[in-house]
Symmetry: D2
């Protein structure tokens, strides 16, 4: 069976409600919960690299992602990531040409009833196993090349450049 | 943008609770609800062919599916289908070699809190856009060739033959 | 703190989906799940008397309910019950005049996203602690005396007789 | 049928996720959504007085609540309110002795899958119709007199003083 690696970095998809502070905090188990609900049987090894809003990611964080992707044994990679700088992080990996790397995330955290999280992570997991090598963004039921996509912040959607 | 066609045929994924009879009935809007929750922006045309449990599907129903797939304009096809005879229906389409055809379904209806439906339909929608021509089954975060998969009825899972 | 006793008997509120058979079956833990979600801190002792559709309840079952209610130490009682014969079972307890007995149930099982179960059980638990002795039915945000209520099967609602 | 009045003031129960800002904002329709899910048929007139975190409520806000409760036609009142200053607001109404006034709220917004909101609002609606005149707090499946309750902020629970 194909071996898949999933690196989580935080972002909207990972948030839950902290009932004592009344604030959104990161849920360390969000990936496991989604794979369980989806009854996912792909052979996925999960590693949490960080739990950050993507607007707070710095060069150091992106270097960590790059090194982990480059050096892991698997060549089918999913990276969960906040949507605001997802494209920036994806472009940084553009020189890795021997792996299939798929970024995904969500507009609404998995903890909410109306979340798009399960839809997006499912999409990313399956295309990571089937696309040829390259760096992709998978959101809203669509697959984009990392160098041909923009986020429309007013609509909360990813769109092709050309 | 790629044009995608989704044919729904019923199955577990489509069930909802009828509060007056206390029985599970088919929800005619299950596909639309899932695409809305997933914030899906793929260009998908939805056609309901029938609303049946897959154990009740007959040759006539499978002919309908075959004719619709053959004759539609799109070459990226998703078929939602009950899991019990999904493989049988998929094999019937094996001679259509100029389209990408992806079957999916669910073990738990979308109407239930713990449903795997959103995960499976998301997977099918994205791989239908990216796989080469052929007939596939997409379940549990995995993609199978229609002629290389069995359903393990005790586990409620799809597995590769070899 | 007031001691409360909850007797569960099955009914719609208790159903979940069996993914292998594709049928609705009884969930033995439905009460515990609801109290956990509601963060209920009332002092409630839960006893499952049976798991039955209320149309299948017989005299023997109703005798069991009556004996358990009569002989338990608590005088604040909740009984979860299918709605079809809830009123019949409630009337059988009309001679118990030293306890507050509240029947409740649901039109849609707790396992469904759109369930009314949590609303109804919460209502029943709080009025069981505050109403004077008598036999009541608590459904749809309303409290009825057991001898002054009918179920409108077409609307799926409970209504006052007068 | 008994006429009930519900005044909403905001608080945790009313929050939803704003997908563009990534922040929790107030959902103006949270009460209607909960009554719909609960299939509530009590005769309730809903009025939104404000949408505020209860820590931001001031004397002016509490005067507004007091005046509305005093001057409305109904004598069965529910007030949804943030939990942090719910007791303070409830005590301010202690001189109104010709109405049944029930405060409720939630630790987790209705928009989240694991919310206690439906449980609490159901409890408040039914006891508002059945308790004698007075000011109450209804949370966690329990009913407290407003002058005999504290919130344990570490546990996120309401407890009797004595």
């Amino acid at each position: 069976m194909m071996k898949v690696r999933l690196f989580s970095t935080g972002g909207t998809i990972a948030k839950k409600y902290d009932e004592l502070s009344g604030e959104l905090i990161f849920d360390k188990e969000h990936i496991e919960k989604m794979l369980l609900q989806g009854r996912c049987k792909a052979d996925i090894k999960i590693t949490s690299l960080m739990l950050k809003d993507s607007l707070e990611m710095n060069d150091n964080d992106r270097n960590t992602i790059e090194n982990m992707v480059k050096n892991c044994d698997e060549n089918k990679i999913i990276i969960t990531h906040g949507t605001d700088t997802m494209i920036q992080s994806a472009k940084k990996l553009s020189k890795i040409n021997d792996k299939t790397i798929v970024f995904t995330g969500a507009m609404i955290p998995y903890a909410f009833k109306n979340s798009d999280s399960l839809f997006n992570i499912a999409s990313a997991i399956t295309v990571a196993q089937t696309l040829k090598h390259g760096v992709y963004i998978c959101m809203n039921g669509k697959v984009f090349l990392a160098d041909n996509v923009v986020k429309d912040k007013k609509l909360g959607l990813f769109l092709e450049v050309a």
